[in-house]
Amino acid sequence: MKHLVRSQGFGAIIGVVVMLVVFTLIDFSGWWTIQTIANVSQFTAILAFVAMGQALVIMTKEIDLSVGSVYGLAGVAFITMEPALGVPGSFVLALVVAALVGLLQAIAVVKGELPSMIVTLGGLFTARGIIYVWTGGSVHNFSPAARSHPMTRLFGGELFGIDAAIFWLIAVAAILGLLLWATPFGNGLLATGGSRESAETRGVRTDRIKIAAFILCSLLAGFAGILTLCNQPQTHVTLGENMELEAIAAAVIGGCLLTGGRGSILGAILGALIVVSFRYELIALGAPSSWYITFIGAVLIVAVIFNQKLARFLGHSA
């Protein structure tokens, strides 16, 4: 219990509880329906993949603004290359494309010693531009055969009425959690974000760790794109737009500090849940959808203040 309270995700746990109580009080019949829960959990799972990757990068004291475009680019690659490569082939290609974007950005950041905010802003525009050129601005679909391919079902289908994305999220989150907290790589990653100089004096290859974090982040964003398209196999050029902002918001709400070294995988998932729930509930309550971004902004600021107060409180009481 002490560990849970002191962990970075604790603020997000409180946030989720408060949010659920509020939604229950103001909209009990609308919120607690199978349909709402299914939709919210599906969207949460997708955003959580992107947010977990973002969290890993933020924990190394960098940021990745390109994830929304990478999400879209991997999705476009997956759908458009399927006629030529088949579902498994285009799946692998899409992930390779995503990993490559992550690698290139990481090399620019680590070897070129450039600020990741600028490099990945470039990546955001570049990857989005490639989407426009690649698709020619038109919508692409899976053929009926590709829709019923076992692999498409595996990533986009359901089991016991629960979307596949949720099972994938649980599995991948468990692996990432172990990687982060229980392996030498994770220890090195947290150290890199905490104090890069100190980590280097201990022989930690912080450059390699940052490169790995960027690649993982892009892979997770790309995988999220594939999961979305397996569920609804249709691309459009705006696929994943603004997702980087939601992912950063989710990671920060989940307790990631932009100063590096602190964050939580569970927190990123709960942060995604908060972001998605707000979007869904605001629309359900009939608020104009344009207000949604404003609300996310407000939630983000409140969450940062709350997490900071919580950290100070725990620091003093320890």
Binding site: T201, R202, R205, G261
Partner: protein, 258 residues
Amino acid sequence: MTNTHPLIQVKSLDLHFGAFHALKNVSVDFHAGELIGLVGDNGAGKTTLIRVLCGIYAPSSGEVYFDGKKIEKFHPKLAIDQGIETIQQSVGLCDNLSIARNFYLGREPVKRVLGIPFLDFAKMREKSTRVIRQFGLRENVSADDEVERLSGGERQSVKIGRAVEFMNRVVIMDEPTNHLSVREREHVNELAVQLKEQGLLVIYITHDIFQVHKLADRVVIMENGEKVADASTDALTAEELEEVIRQGGRLVEKREAV
């Protein structure tokens, strides 16, 4: 002591950072079981020199021999693997990690499950707990606590404990007693002497002339990237040593000329 071959031998070392000539033709020998004071003003090149020894900077020209073997590649990891530990004032511990995690950072003990290396938490906790008790941390500090909680002296104790625990041959201390209370300073200095007596080479960087004169066997003085003096502490008093630093090594030259 000096008839054995030097543990670290630096020959005609030069280091440029762009147009800045940080180290100029530095040659110096260090032996096992010695406590060397490395002194000089800010910007004299002391820290730059030890950063070469611990693999952070590669020299522009010149050679470094460790235990008779020429060092070809400079990397912190290689230096650590060879047993060269650096204790710097503000660097070396990550505030966001526990003492146990810091202790083993970069060489974590692992237990393999299905071939995957997982941290061996039990071993990390047990060993680092023993060391922090031995090196005098408060009783209510546990190995699971984040380093953030520690005082300046406790931080240095963790670093020194780590250096001892990993059977190092060289411990470089870069101003280890800055910002410490009097008692903590004495504790750290006792540890430095203890390391030397165990046969380690200790290189001690400081601004405190009187302290280093008391501690060290030999003092190496640097100025503007050059070694300007290298003398046994038996050969000159602390006051003379201070004068040498103020004069930029000229006093020693005068003495040698006489």
